[in-house]
């Protein structure tokens, strides 16, 4: 390589050594290799050279160009790797905060139930919490003298008005205002004068009602069996046993086996003909079933909550455990 070329290369080396940024490097590159750069200019000499000279000059020029390109490329990779290491991040640091909130476990449980029953055609109906005796008791075949009223320790707000003891009152209103076929579910707050570690004076219930022609006990069993396994996400050990509710006949209770013990989770039965007559539905033509369950009890089973009071203390440390659940 001619001397002038060697000095050109060493000049380039010096410049590269003192270069610290990609920006400067880009300038250096264009100074030597750009369209009007030093090396590009040298190539112009080829035109004036004889064919003999051109051969040697060509080889030399290409060597010069390759050398320069290599040096610049090396510097480039050094620079970029250096810049990389400056910005190497600590992956283990936490990400930016997005604070999620939560739905209350009672609402989560209600939503799950509504979604399951909704897929069987049940629609949600809301109703009054302050009710009268007709809708809460009489229409449901619970006359004043009936011992079953003792099962409901009722809060009264006036001589005739009370806090509903179950959401069955909503079913009565629905049956009075519409005609079969009926498929409804009634989630909501209910009130009973009872307070201890397993009872709260206010709690939540959801009840279901299905009235149509030719609805029978086997339909009820089928729906509830499917409902329980969908709710718990697996087949559960369940049993139906005879029970008593004034508004259903026959009446049954559904128990689930948990840790070897049977737990009562749901009451159900075929709607009592007196109830149907009370709401002006022809019980000779239509039949139906109803069922009801306490939400808190189910939520306790699902999430392993042992103290009912947790639900109403609303400690954020408790609530935030349900973050992001639907």
């Amino acid at each position: 390589m001619p001397k002038e070329y060697s000095s050109l290369i060493s000049e380039l080396r010096e410049k590269l050594d003192s270069c610290t940024s990609e920006h400067d490097l880009a300038n250096i590159k264009s100074h030597y290799l750009g369209k009007k750069g030093v090396i590009s200019n040298e190539f112009l000499k080829l035109r004036a050279a004889s064919s003999e000279e051109r051969k040697i000059l060509g080889i030399n020029l290409n060597t010069l160009k390759d050398e320069a390109q290599n040096l610049i490329a090396n510097k480039m990779s050094k620079l970029s790797s250096a810049e990389d290491s400056n910005e190497k991040i600590d992956i283990s640091l936490p990400g930016s905060n997005i604070r999620l909130g939560s739905r209350h476990p009672v609402s989560l449980t209600i939503n799950r139930i509504i979604n399951i029953l909704g897929s069987y055609g049940f629609e949600t109906v809301d109703g009054f919490e302050i009710e009268d005796e007709f809708h809460n008791f009489d229409a449901l075949n619970i006359p004043d003298s009936h011992p079953a009223r003792d099962m409901h320790d009722t809060f009264y707000v006036s001589d005739s008005k009370l806090l509903r003891t179950h959401t069955s009152s909503v079913q009565i209103r629905s049956m009075l205002s519409s005609s079969p076929p009926i498929r409804i579910m009634t989630p909501g707050k209910v009130y009973r004068s009872d307070s201890d570690p397993t009872h709260s004076p206010m709690f939540h219930q959801i009840e279901g009602l299905c009235i149509d022609e030719d609805i029978n006990f086997c339909h009820l069993k089928s729906l509830l069996t499917a409902f329980i396994s969908e709710l718990f996400g697996r087949d559960m050990d369940i049993r139906f046993r005879p029970s008593y509710f004034p508004f259903t006949e026959p009446s049954a209770e559904l128990d689930i086996k948990f840790n070897g013990k049977w737990l009562e989770v749901l009451g159900c039965g075929m709607v009592h003909p007196n109830v149907l007559s009370n709401v002006k539905i022809d019980y000779k033509k239509y039949s139906g079933f109803a069922f009801g369950l306490g939400i808190e009890r189910l939520a306790m089973l699902q999430y392993g909550i042992t103290d009912l009071r947790m639900f109403y203390e609303n400690d954020i440390s408790f609530l935030s455990q349900f973050e992001g659940l639907k």
Binding site: S102, T124, P181, K221, M270, S287
Partner: protein, 673 residues
């Protein structure tokens, strides 16, 4: 109710598998609560439903199991009662009792020690021992279900009178209390006055003790409703009233006396007894009742066809008298079954024995409801959005402490619970803020001072005409800081604008208007939330007195939205997008500091300048020295775009000068240079 397994097996005959028997009780509807071994016997605690009065005895339970084991229930051994007497009872009011018998035993020794087998069983069943004859009566009650009462004959003055109490008449009851009676309370009296509240409790004055040597045992059927009233009125639930108000077999009273006599004969030398059945024409609504039904009714309700033979056998074992003629079933209701009155009751009897778990499952047919019937107005989407914005859902009690709502409204509009469980749950909430403030306070005191919570629930109001109404309210509260301390994000205290921003992002078309009328919110920070022109909620900071009432010192911002009033249907229609560039212009102007920024933007938008697609306030700046107290500098960011071409500077400049003119005319605004 506790019963002894050995005793039960005496009535059912030879049964080997105890576990099977116990599980059968539950499958028949007599739910076994617990089982425990005691004294070479097993105690079974049964959770009896209120309709099954017939199973409040060993014999009754055995009878209910008889169709399972296909064994007729054995009858207890009884002594024949003779030597009829006419004396000792003066009168029986038939409204009170329609079957009334007595057994009189003189030369009786009540100092006898109660035989061990009787004492043991009473103990197993949780009945305390009193003295020989009382223990025998309790034993027979547990065995066959008839409550009885015994008087010390020598302590009585004259013959018994079954009558209603005289108003103000007093009785010193066996529980040690004195009760003042009213004219609707049935009593058994002698010429001195009431000696028992009929079917409920006896008097101390005529009670038997170990010195008693002459007794009158009463065995009767009392009017259920009257007993229920007495028991309820004096809050006296005795073994006797518990059974009578649920229904004791009206034909049982003489059998019970025969059984008592048989046991007494076994353990003491009674020379003679006298028996008198004063009235014996029981009246009860279910007596002599027949139920007629189609056999097909079983399948209609149960979904499964049962054989006629199974139906007949089951009902016969349970004491019914079934006959089937041409697919019609006719059954008489036995005297012990107060709970049977319609065909469905008969269906349940047969279904219980068939076993609920043995019915197959038939899938519910698809719904025949029309889609339009299924409502769609669902708020749950908004609750999901709130929780994804960092809000935790809480549920607080609908009832609040007495007098805790004074700040909200006059006493006439709140609804009080007449029989509250405690003072702190005695009035229905008229507002959601109480429950949320209490929750905030609770969490702050537990070192959770960063709070974002919401609740959906009802508020309750009483109106002038005494009618009540309920309203669905979504309410929430924020307090504390935006983020926990961290490397990336700037930490600051949450403020009103955080709350407003959250609400604006979740609900559509909300507007916030300054207010001063909400008494429980701070005057300097309160707003009415509207959708269109309709007020649908409010928000702001609690008033000082509310902060004080709850002892909260941290800054809190609150909102409530009346969800019933809110229009939630959000229909999305696509709008075309312009492909031409946007032009951004910033204008900084001086405004009177009283002018609200929302007003400026609203008016600019309403004026709809050409090409202007957006306008917002990007900066607000106060400077006393430069432009005084009554002015503020605001920067407006205006965005222009056209759908058909790229806008030129001239296009925008024309609009900008129109905007400046407009702002000068409308607000006296001056462009800052």
């Amino acid at each position: 109710m506790k019963i002894s397994l050995n005793w039960l097996k005496e009535y059912l005959g030879n049964i080997k598998d105890n576990d099977e028997l116990i599980s059968r009780l539950t499958s028949m509807g007599l739910e076994v609560d617990s089982v425990s071994k005691q004294k070479r016997d097993t105690v079974i605690d049964i959770d009896m439903t209120p309709n099954r009065a017939d199973c409040l005895s060993v014999m009754g339970i055995a009878r209910d199991l008889s169709p399972i084991y296909k064994k007729k229930v054995l009858m207890p051994k009884i002594s024949k009662l003779s030597n009829k007497t006419k004396s000792h009872v003066k009168r029986v009011n038939k409204k009170i009792s329609t079957a009334y018998s007595i057994l009189v035993i003189k030369d009786f020794d009540n100092s006898l020690i109660t035989p061990k087998n009787i004492a043991d069983r009473l103990e197993l069943c949780g009945i305390s021992q009193i003295n020989f004859i009382v223990d025998v009566l309790n034993y027979v009650m547990l065995e066959i279900g008839q409550p009885m009462h015994v008087f010390d004959k020598d302590k009585l003055n004259g013959a018994l009178d079954v009558r209603f109490a005289r108003k103000g008449e007093k009785i010193n009851a066996l529980d040690g209390n004195q009760y003042t009676l009213t004219a609707d309370i049935p009593v058994i009296s002698d010429s001195n006055g009431a000696q028992a509240i009929a079917g409920v409790i006896g008097s101390d004055n005529s009670s038997v003790d170990t010195n008693t040597s002459s007794i009158i045992i009463e065995s009767a059927f009392f009017n259920q409703n009257l007993i229920r009233k007495s028991a309820k009125k004096y809050r006296l639930q005795t073994e006797s009233s518990y059974r009578f108000e649920r229904g004791v077999d009206p034909y049982l009273n003489n059998l019970a006396l025969g059984r008592v006599m048989h046991i007494v004969d076994q353990y003491s030398q009674v020379k003679n007894h006298m028996f008198n059945s004063i009235v014996s024409k029981p009246i009860s609504t279910h007596l002599g009742k027949y139920i007629k039904m189609d056999i097909s009714y079983f399948e209609r309700i149960l979904g499964v066809k049962l054989s006629n033979k199974f139906i007949i056998n089951t009902l016969s074992y349970l004491g019914f008298n079934p006959i089937i003629v041409k697919n019609k079933l006719k059954v008489s209701v036995p005297s012990h079954r107060f709970d049977i009155s319609i065909a469905e009751d008969i269906v349940e009897e047969v279904a219980r024995v068939y076993g609920y778990n043995n019915f197959t499952e038939i899938p519910l047919p698809p719904t025949t409801l029309s889609k339009s019937k299924i409502s769609k107005n669902n708020t749950s989407k908004y609750l999901e959005l709130l929780s994804s914005q960092g809000y935790h859902e809480v549920i607080t009690y609908s009832f609040l402490p007495k007098d805790s709502q004074k700040l909200f409204m006059s006493n006439t509009s709140k609804i009080e619970v007449l029989n509250p469980i405690s003072e702190d749950k005695s009035e229905m909430r008229v507002n959601m803020i109480n429950g949320l403030l209490k929750t905030a306070k609770y969490n702050i005191s537990r070192q959770n001072s960063d709070i974002k919570i919401f609740e959906i629930g009802k508020t309750y109001k009483k109106h002038k005409d005494n009618s009540v109404s309920e309203e669905n309210v979504l309410a929430g509260m924020i307090s504390g800081v935006n983020y926990p301390l961290n490397l990336k994000q700037f930490q600051r205290k949450l403020d009103f604008y955080d709350l407003k921003g959250d609400l604006m992002s979740i609900f559509q078309n909300l507007s916030f208007n300054q207010s001063e009328k909400i008494s429980y919110l701070s005057n300097s920070c309160q707003a009415v939330i509207s959708q269109g022109r309709k007020p649908v909620g409010l928000c702001g900071e609690p008033s000082l007195s509310l902060y004080k009432q709850f002892g909260v010192k941290n800054k809190i911002f609150y909102f409530e939205i009346y969800i019933d009033l809110l229009k939630l249907n959000q229909k999305v229609t696509y709008e075309p997008i312009s492909i031409y560039p946007k032009i951004y212009r910033d204008l900084t102007l001086l405004f009177d500091s009283k002018i609200s920024s929302g007003d400026i933007i609203k008016k600019i938008q309403r004026k709809s300048f050409n090409y202007m697609i957006n306008s917002r306030i990007s900066d607000i700046f106060y400077n006393k020295n430069d432009f005084g107290n009554d002015k503020k500098s605001m920067t407006l960011e205006l965005v222009f775009q056209d759908y058909s071409r790229t806008l030129q500077d001239d296009d925008v400049n024309t609009q900008i000068s129109m905007v400046l003119d407009f702002l000068e005319k409308e607000f006296n605004a001056v462009l800052r240079k």
